[in-house]
């Protein structure tokens, strides 16, 4: 089934055109100036003891200008304990510094920075600011839209800012890492638009990698995903991420991501100029 899905994605991407509202990463494009967004995401994975671990994240997004947006989020999970409990806050800000637009095309570049605080005690080499660890991250995103196909790459550096605890007497956790991704998205339906109310269906395939910089460890994941966009304002995303190759100590080598996101246009008052 997994292979079939990958084959289907590759087939569609190979034929032409897509979208850039990626499920596991983000594009260099920002949300509109003055817009707000609310996102709920759930990450589900099978823990080593066989139970299902879950994280629930709530995020508020703001487009302060056409070039600058910021997200703030908080999460709860049972990934580091027996019960769901509050674990983290995170802030993400992105500045689009290049935009070359043409009809049905664009090339964009953006820089971002991220800061996270987590109460969790890290046990794994994999650095994640989505609730697992306290840390900072910064990087760039390059996105090319060509009709219905959008291809994007993110390159970033993440530094953990957390006190480490020894686990089983070994103190060998990863403190900083280089992360990279290559994502493709394709607008499958509708084939022809006739209104804002039409449901859009997008297919995504993302390659997500990380390389530890202070030890020899890394991974590369493949993440297919589907997305429905209702009434041009609400996104429903479903993705599955699995490891293709890697030797990094991780919480899990595969996980599901389910998210729903609503954009509210013109929530911040701006002059009609």
């Amino acid at each position: 089934m997994k292979r079939l899905l990958i084959f289907a994605c590759v087939l569609f991407f190979g034929t032409a055109e897509g979208q850039e509202l990626y499920v596991f990463t983000g594009p260099a494009s920002n949300m509109p100036a003055g817009a707000g967004g609310l996102k709920y995401a759930a990450k589900l994975l099978e823990a080593s003891d066989g139970r299902t671990d879950q994280r629930h994240m709530l995020e508020w997004q703001m487009g302060f200008s056409k070039k600058w947006m910021t997200h703030v989020s908080t999460s709860v999970s049972n990934m580091y304990g027996d019960y769901l409990r509050w674990e983290s806050v995170r802030s993400y800000t992105q500045y689009r510094f290049l935009s070359i637009d043409d009809v049905h095309k664009h090339f964009r570049a953006a820089a971002f920075a991220e800061l996270a605080y987590s109460v969790n005690s890290p046990r794994y080499d994999e650095l994640s600011l989505d609730g697992d660890q306290s840390g900072v991250s910064t990087g760039i995103i390059l996105t090319q839209l060509l009709h219905k196909l959008a291809v994007s790459s993110t390159l970033s550096y993440t530094l953990s800012l957390q006190d480490r605890i020894e686990h089983m007497g070994i103190h060998n956790y990863n403190y900083n890492a280089f992360n990279y991704s290559l994502s493709a998205g394709y607008l499958l339906f509708p084939r022809k638009y006739n209104g804002y109310g039409q449901t859009n269906f997008n297919l995504y395939l993302e390659l997500l990698g990380s390389r530890a910089l202070d030890k020899q460890a890394g991974f590369v994941d493949l993440a297919p995903a589907v997305q429905f966009i209702f009434s041009s304002s609400t996104k429903f995303n479903l993705g599955y991420r699995f490891q293709l190759a890697g030797d990094m100590q991780r919480m899990a080598n595969n996980s599901f991501l389910v998210s729903i996101e609503r954009t509210f246009l013109n929530v911040m008052n701006r002059k009609n100029k």
């Binding site: 509202l21 949300m31 022809k192 638009y193």
Partner: protein
């Protein structure tokens, strides 16, 4: 009663500054999806002089009808598209004229706007005309290169009267829109 209506009607027609740009066709660039187009639509809808918008989603085009008697701010249209995160690829203004003499590199005052006619022959225009705005940020970068050779005047580069056209009663910062008759 008929006379009063006629007088009021004629009065409206002759109010200085009344908008005679009746509608426009705008093509946005940098987008394909309906969600992106909706962001543009929502921005354009907030303009005080816009009456109605029809969208051609497949062509990323918006047909704007303007309110009678409310001055049209052309730059505000472009700014709204850019606020949504995209660019203007083409803006055609539909306007009516009454025996207006135009010639290449000539500026005319048109209901509160200064229009600089580019590339066309010397003529008197009358009736409904479509004017394409060819200023920077109103066309794609590729298209813009075609227009650069049409004039040596500095105002085309700056978009304002500046050094080349500040004379004749115009201030240096006065906005000049460069247009071609379609």
């Amino acid at each position: 009663m008929k006379k009063i209506i006629l007088i009021v009607f004629l009065g409206i027609l002759t109010i200085p500054g009344i908008s005679q740009i009746e509608s426009a066709k705008l093509q946005a660039s940098g987008l394909t999806c309906a969600m992106c187009a909706k962001a543009v639509y929502s921005k354009l809808e907030s303009l005080p002089f816009v009456d109605k918008i029809d969208t051609d989603l497949n062509g990323s085009a918006f047909l704007l009808d303007f309110k009678q008697g409310v001055p049209v701010d052309i730059d505000a249209i472009k700014n709204k598209v850019e606020d949504a995160g995209f660019s203007v690829a083409m803006l055609d203004l539909n306007a009516s004229f009454h025996e207006v003499a135009v010639k290449k590199d000539e500026h005319i005052n048109y209901h509160g706007l200064v229009l600089h006619f580019m590339g066309g022959k010397e003529q008197t225009i009358h009736g409904d005309k479509t004017l394409r705005v060819i200023d920077k940020h109103y066309t794609t970068a590729k298209e813009q290169k075609k227009f650069n050779g049409l004039t040596d005047m500095e105002c085309f580069k700056t978009g304002v009267a500046a050094a080349c056209c500040a004379k004749n009663g115009k201030g240096a910062s006065e906005r000049i829109y460069h247009v071609m008759i379609n």
